[in-house]
């Protein structure tokens, strides 16, 4: 039977590796190529690379050359997100050695993009990332542009739409949890993963092995992603690229 996946998320700010807290406060972590190399040696399940520096207002091109260098170090599945606005960008990313692209802001700004991407590259290579925050009434609002812009779209209506379009995978992040080490938003992840037929990746808040264990045990999620937990020793401590060891993997996967 298929294993649940545990996925480090690396945030790029140009050619630097950074880590945010609540989508803000970019802290410098180190050299991305070095980090990717270590994650490769640690035989991680998969890697997600997000460029959070790309400004959606200004027409910036993606740093393909740098991404190519990153991809050549990876012998595991690799996803890229950040600034992909059209088929041409997507095709270039795939050619560099990424098998999945992650889209967020651009699909809300261009209604046809998701459909076009799926038609061209197949469902399995299109990952849709959705960032949310709870409002006063305890409902979830969708945010785009790195959490800066709130949308007036109901999360679950939107989910139904992307399910019908045939998106391959979803990454769900609660912005209020990101970088906090306080655990995933289990209720959110449970309510999304139980109503979707495609794999759902939980993101935001992971601070311990227990958090991963909990989300795997209590929800139908297919994968757990984490940033801070895999790039720092502990909360408030220095950089240490790390991953679960064999023993810990067995524990969280209930093997």
């Amino acid at each position: 039977m298929i294993r649940k996946r545990i996925i480090p998320v690396l945030q790029l700010d140009g050619e630097k590796l950074v880590k945010t807290v609540l989508f803000k406060r970019k802290n410098y972590v180190g050299d991305p190529i070095n980090a990717v190399r270590i994650f490769n040696d640690l035989e991680v399940d998969e890697l997600i690379i997000l460029d959070i520096s790309i400004n959606h207002e200004i027409k910036e091109t993606l740093n393909f050359k740098f991404l190519k260098n990153l991809a050549s170090e990876c012998f595991m599945p690799l996803s890229y997100g950040g600034g992909i606005k059209n088929i041409i960008d997507a095709e270039k990313i795939f050619k560099l050695g990424f098998e999945k692209i992650i889209v967020n802001t651009s699909v809300f700004e261009n209604n046809l993009l998701l459909e076009e991407l799926i038609k061209h590259f197949g469902s399995q290579s299109i990952v849709h990332s959705i960032d949310v925050k709870k409002n006063f009434f305890n409902n979830y609002n969708i945010y785009i542009k790195n959490g800066e812009k709130k949308l007036k779209i109901d999360l679950f209506e939107w989910l139904k739409k992307v399910e019908d379009l045939g998106v391959g995978e979803l990454i769900i992040t609660n912005i209020s949890k990101e970088g906090t080490w306080s655990g995933y938003d289990n209720n959110l992840i449970e309510s999304v993963s139980k109503c979707m037929s495609m794999p759902v990746i939980a993101n935001g808040g992971c601070g311990s092995i227990e958090h991963i264990k909990e989300i795997f045990k209590n929800t139908k999620v297919s994968a757990a992603a984490a940033g801070s937990f895999f790039v720092y020793q502990k909360k408030g401590m220095g950089v240490l690229i790390n991953y679960l060891n064999k023993h810990e993997l067995k524990e969280v996967l209930f093997l």
Binding site: I2, R5, D45, E46, C74, G97, E99, G122, P199, S222
Partner: protein
């Protein structure tokens, strides 16, 4: 030289990278000349069945590939969609497959399963084969697919994987090999398999 056939169907760079890592020379190409001179071929691919078949026919590569595979017995390894295209047809599309292997590509039927089958899964040897020689005991491979190769003749199956049901995750018929998973994305486990293929 191993030629990785470039059909513009997703990620071919990582196959090249992995061969480079194990010191095997390969080249990504869609030129007839390269294909005709190849010692071995890789037919990669991700995406929809019909668009794959369309691309292999549009680029007019089909004649040179079939000349190599069917007349000259050049070993070929199909990966993911590349493997599926080697069969006669697919539930995913309307176009005819290459038909080198008898069988149809069919969809997973268990509705309780997440589709696509995406992630790391194990394989079980159903037969000894050069491609799967000395695979590491805890081998796991990375899969991303919604359809699988339903072979007419199960004796060509060499690896089997379970996802709701048992399905063929690798096959071999003469010089034709196919794997449903992505060896190029499966760490040292995939590296071993590609190394085996390079030595066939």
């Amino acid at each position: 030289m191993i030629i990785i056939i470039d059909l513009n169907l997703g990620n071919v760079g990582s196959i090249f990278n992995m061969f480079e890592k194990i010191g095997v020379s390969s080249k990504i190409s869609n030129r007839e000349n390269d294909i005709l001179k190849a010692t071995k071929l890789i037919l990669p691919g991700v995406g929809a069945f019909d668009s794959g078949i369309e691309k292999i026919k549009k680029n007019n590569l089909i004649n040179s590939i079939e000349n190599k595979v069917l007349d000259k017995s050049t070993p070929i390894l199909g990966i993911c969609l590349g493997m599926q295209m080697m069969l006669e047809s697919s539930e995913e599309g309307k176009k005819k497959g290459l038909g080198w292997i008898k069988g149809k590509v069919t969809k997973f039927t268990d509705h309780n399963l997440k589709i696509p089958h995406m992630g790391w899964n194990q394989v079980r040897k159903t037969k000894n084969n050069k491609l799967t020689n000395n695979l590491l005991s805890d081998s796991r491979f990375y899969f991303v697919h919604s359809y699988f190769a339903n072979l007419k003749d199960k004796k060509n199956q060499i690896l089997q994987t379970e996802y709701g049901e048992n399905f063929t995750s690798a096959f071999n018929l003469k010089n034709i090999y196919g794997v449903q998973f992505h060896p190029e994305k499966s760490h040292k486990f995939g590296m071993k398999l590609l190394e085996n293929f390079s030595k066939i």
